[in-house]
C-alpha cells in the first residue's frame, strides 16, 4: 500500500516511533503499581493521573483511526496530522509552562523515562506534518477515492 502513497522512509520511521511511544505510554500508565506512587503531593498526583487517563483515551482513539484516514482518506490525513502535532505541542506547553503548579507526574516506574521521550515524539510528528504538507503533488495519479 505504501508505494501508492509515495511517502518517504522518514515518514514511516517517524510514524513507527510515534506509535511505539504511545504504546509504551499506554502500557506504562495501565500497569503502574499503586504502591509505587509517592505519598507526598497525593492530590496533585491523583489529578495528574486523572488528566493522563483522559488524554490517553483520546490518544487510543486517534491511534486506531489514523491508519484508516491515512490509507483510505489520504486527502484529510494532512489536516489530521497537523491537528495531532498541534495537540501534542499544546499538551507539552500546558504541562511545562501552564500547569506547572497544578500537576505533578509521579517519579516512580517508567513514567519519567517515557515523559523524557516526549520531545522526540513531537519532532517525529512535526516531520510527518512537514512531509504531508510540502510534498510535491504528482500529476496524473489518483490518490483519493
Amino acid at each position: 500500500m505504501s508505494h501508492y502513497l509515495e511517502l518517504s522512509k522518514f515518514f514511516w520511521l517517524s510514524m513507527s516511533i510515534t506509535y511505539a511511544f504511545y504504546f509504551s505510554k499506554l502500557y506504562t500508565y495501565l500497569t503502574i503499581p499503586e504502591l509505587n506512587v509517592e505519598l507526598n503531593n497525593v492530590d496533585q498526583i491523583i489529578i495528574t493521573m486523572k488528566l493522563a487517563t483522559v488524554r490517553l483515551g483520546i490518544v487510543a482513539m486517534v491511534l486506531s483511526v489514523y491508519p484508516v484516514i491515512l490509507f483510505r482518506f489520504f486527502k484529510y490525513a494532512k489536516y489530521l496530522t497537523v491537528a495531532l502535532t498541534a495537540l501534542a505541542v499544546a499538551i507539552y506547553i500546558d504541562d511545562v509552562f501552564v500547569l506547572t503548579d497544578v500537576i505533578q507526574y509521579p517519579d516512580s516506574g517508567l513514567i519519567p523515562l517515557i515523559e523524557s521521550f516526549r520531545p522526540i515524539m513531537i519532532t517525529c510528528l512535526l516531520l510527518m506534518s512537514i512531509e504531508l504538507t510540502f510534498r510535491p503533488v504528482p500529476v496524473g495519479l489518483y490518490y483519493e477515492k
Binding site: I47, I58, A83, A86, L87, D94, V98, V102
Partner: protein, 168 residues
C-alpha cells in the same frame, strides 16, 4: 492626450488586458461575508475573554467564591490568556496575508479543545458554575467559539479560483 499612432482597437486591448490579467489589484482572494463576520466574532470573543482574565487577575471584578483562585487557577488563567493572545495574532496575520490560515486555525481549535478538557478535568471538582458567573458564561459558550473556528476553517478560500476570460 491620445497617441495618434495607436488606434482604438489597440488602446482598448491594452487597457482591457492591463486591467484584467496584469493587474496586481486583483491578485488576492476575496473572502466571503460570512467568513469576515465569523472572524470578527472570533476576535471579539477572544479579546473579551483575555480582558476578563486580566480583570480577574487584577481583582477588578468580584466573585461569589474567591477561594478557587488560590488553587493555582490564576496562574493557569494568566498563561492561557497570553497563549490565546499569541494565537489570535497569528490567526489575524495569516488571514491578512492568506498564508497558512487553515493550519493556524486548526492549531487554535486544538488548543481551545485541549484547554477545555484540562479545565473540565482539573478544576471542575472545586469550581462551581455560580462562583464566577462571567467566567462560567465563557466556559459554557466555548463550544460556540470552537464551532466558529471550525466554520472559518471550512469556508476559508486558499487560492483564487481560475476563471476563464470570456471577453478575449
Amino acid at each position: 492626450m491620445k497617441n495618434k499612432n495607436i488606434n482604438d482597437l489597440e488602446l482598448s486591448t491594452i487597457l482591457g488586458t492591463a486591467s484584467d490579467e496584469f493587474s496586481n489589484d486583483k491578485n488576492y482572494v476575496v473572502q466571503s461575508f460570512t467568513f469576515r463576520l465569523t472572524l470578527s466574532f472570533i476576535n471579539l470573543y477572544a479579546l473579551i475573554l483575555i480582558a476578563l482574565f486580566f480583570m480577574v487577575k487584577g481583582n477588578l471584578v468580584l466573585g461569589i467564591n474567591n477561594n478557587f483562585l488560590e488553587t493555582g487557577f490564576l496562574s493557569v488563567l494568566n498563561s492561557r490568556a497570553s497563549l490565546i493572545f499569541l494565537l489570535l495574532i497569528s490567526l489575524n496575520i495569516s488571514a491578512y496575508f492568506n498564508l497558512g490560515f487553515k493550519y493556524v486555525c486548526l492549531t487554535m481549535m486544538v488548543y481551545m479543545i485541549n484547554s477545555a478538557i484540562d479545565n473540565a478535568v482539573l478544576f471542575s471538582s472545586f469550581m462551581h458554575l455560580t462562583d464566577r458567573p462571567y467566567i462560567s458564561v465563557f466556559n459554557v459558550t466555548r463550544p460556540l467559539f470552537i464551532i466558529s473556528l471550525f466554520w472559518v476553517f471550512i469556508i476559508h478560500k486558499d487560492k483564487k479560483k481560475i476563471t476563464k476570460n470570456l471577453y478575449y
